[in-house]
Symmetry: C2
Amino acid sequence: MPLSTAATDASSPADASGEQLIRRFAWQAVDMLDWLAQFGGETDGGVTRLLYSPEWQQAQTALSRRMLQLGFEPYYDEAGNLFGRLAGKQPDSRAVLTGSHIDTVLHGGRYDGAYGIIAGLIAAAYLRERYGQPLRSIEIVAFAEEEGSRFPLTFWGSGNATRIYSADNPPPVRDADGVTLADAMHAAGFGLNRFEPAGRNDWEAFVELHIEQGSVLERERCAVGIVQGIVGQQRFTFEVTGVSNHAGTTPMGDRQDALCGASEMILAVREEAVKFGDPMVATVGQLTVVSGASNVVPGHVHFTMDARHPDPTELDLFCRTIEKRLERLAGRSGLSLTSRRWMTAAPIPMNAELAAAGESSCRARGLSFRSMYSGAGHDAQLFAAVCPTAMIFVPSRAGISHSPDEHTEPEQLGAGIAVLADLLHSLAYR
Amino acid sequence: MPLSTAATDASSPADASGEQLIRRFAWQAVDMLDWLAQFGGETDGGVTRLLYSPEWQQAQTALSRRMLQLGFEPYYDEAGNLFGRLAGKQPDSRAVLTGSHIDTVLHGGRYDGAYGIIAGLIAAAYLRERYGQPLRSIEIVAFAEEEGSRFPLTFWGSGNATRIYSADNPPPVRDADGVTLADAMHAAGFGLNRFEPAGRNDWEAFVELHIEQGSVLERERCAVGIVQGIVGQQRFTFEVTGVSNHAGTTPMGDRQDALCGASEMILAVREEAVKFGDPMVATVGQLTVVSGASNVVPGHVHFTMDARHPDPTELDLFCRTIEKRLERLAGRSGLSLTSRRWMTAAPIPMNAELAAAGESSCRARGLSFRSMYSGAGHDAQLFAAVCPTAMIFVPSRAGISHSPDEHTEPEQLGAGIAVLADLLHSLAYR
């Protein structure tokens, strides 16, 4: 699949050598991703970098050195977010920010988060080489944390940068070993007033480049996804109660089997989501048979449901429909059902002008693209509230993420960086 | 429902006062069950007596004193089985044994096991009072263990008495605190060559009276169940493998959701069991979503199936049908399935002559009865291999067992004891 053709839009950094540029970006990206994956790297190609862990500290330290080598001015903020600054000609201008998170899930891949950081460095270094010093400062960020894989908390990095959290007053959460977020942060040297304050309000714009973590771009053979918005979510726990009984002495007709009931409900959730149609998704990801034993008819089962849609009205309608349908299913089987919604996140639109600029870039470069929603949460959703924010996706092979099997082809990596460079150019040089 | 009418069979202990006798047995049973439930008794009416625990020791000690008061000669065997002996006139005769197990499940009821023991004492005391010394010795046994609730091992008590296990060489199993069966046994004073050897071969017959633990007798308004045999069992673990993926970024059509697959399989197991018809029962009692998280499409699920039927051909056919059907379901959803059978127990028939004698007793006493299979395992199944063995059921309210809610009406308790007395009379006095 040819991702790019020679483009001729003189107003962008694309030029007659567009394909060569993407190839150059591609091999720079592969090289830097290989290099970054060694910090927390595992023998099977997986990567684990938990917030403030030794591997995380090694990665941030190495990255700050690399920033310096590439001509960026590196500095940390109090939360441990690492920035590389390319100062603009306008000394007091607001900063054009790009990047993503440096942390990973347990045994994750080498692309999620890391790609957005190294892409920012490659794109900004290219812009400086080709166009010189920007008007506005460009900053590349490696956010401390996004995944929630060490502490039961997500977006700690971007949350500090957007003043949702403060490193001065971390939430009282603990990791699996009982270590508090505050203690882990202090042990890594952050939150002790040694670095720049994390909370700022001088963001001109934020652009995040990320792997899709889904299979839409691959299936539709698109090089680039222009993110219109991040879907809304609702999460529920359903509890099904029947009658626990002896597996040998209870005839089939006398049973009020909570697991059979839950099975009907799980299939109803899937059927209803399919009926609503894309982009509706609904998932039952956890299920517990309380006091389950192979020789006991289950009396009590609980399971979760995660439902997502970009349109809050559709999402509400889906969840209400499911609640009613599961209630009917329970009643029909002599089971009782309780339902508890424990998470609601509204959909978050990305900036329309920046999205349009991303589409223009793709057209100018002859890159196939589609407009799409992100089904996953990203650092970009916190910036959307404080400045114009854009998000660009590149394909994930087989839609796989959070796994050592994460993969994106080099040329696809390069195409994403070219679009990022175009956006940074339009934001920082005009 | 009148359980008994005046009966006139002069060859049995039933007489013109048959109803009064059942009422007398009933109140003796209620009194002794109340008394026995205090050992390991809990505030909500539950009972926990784990093998060799202090509560278990208190119960056996109190029971041995009660045996002495009632005129039985109490003694322990090396495994901790407690016997109360009513010596027969024929000094070297084989022993007619009745009784059940003294141990309970965690937070169990006051009837399971205990009823068979106190019923034996009441029935044998009545026979001696009415007919004098028997020809053959009658022994009442409180088996040390049947439930498998402390150690991962069942039938330790009856297994010792029937030489399947030996207290000299206990299996190397441990309880939840890591204590071995050997250590627990020795701490309680058993297995140290202080008591009678447990393994014997002088059993004339064994009769076990037990609550049904199902709802068949209650539903059919029968006072007594005459057990034809104990059903065969097969237990399986099925593992369903799909693809674990992001709940937000994976469209419904792209999923290989192992939990949706397992849900279809669970409903197929139920449907197939209903199609085979009573007495086929099949239960999925345990299910685990491996690495389950609310925001992850499940990639790996395993669940158990417990299938039971008195006819081994039907049971085999059912299990083979299920394996094929689940295989097809998996294939249709792009999932893979592995199946492992980890338990097979053949059906065990009870002695037909003793069963017929039980039916005659019911007819003579005007007690409604039905012939039935036991869906649960019982100590009687071990004796069936070594001597003529009978098993008598009384109703369980709402089919509930292994719960503080176990209940059997006093008159139902009394009716069962009357039938037991008739069987012991025919075995020990003729």
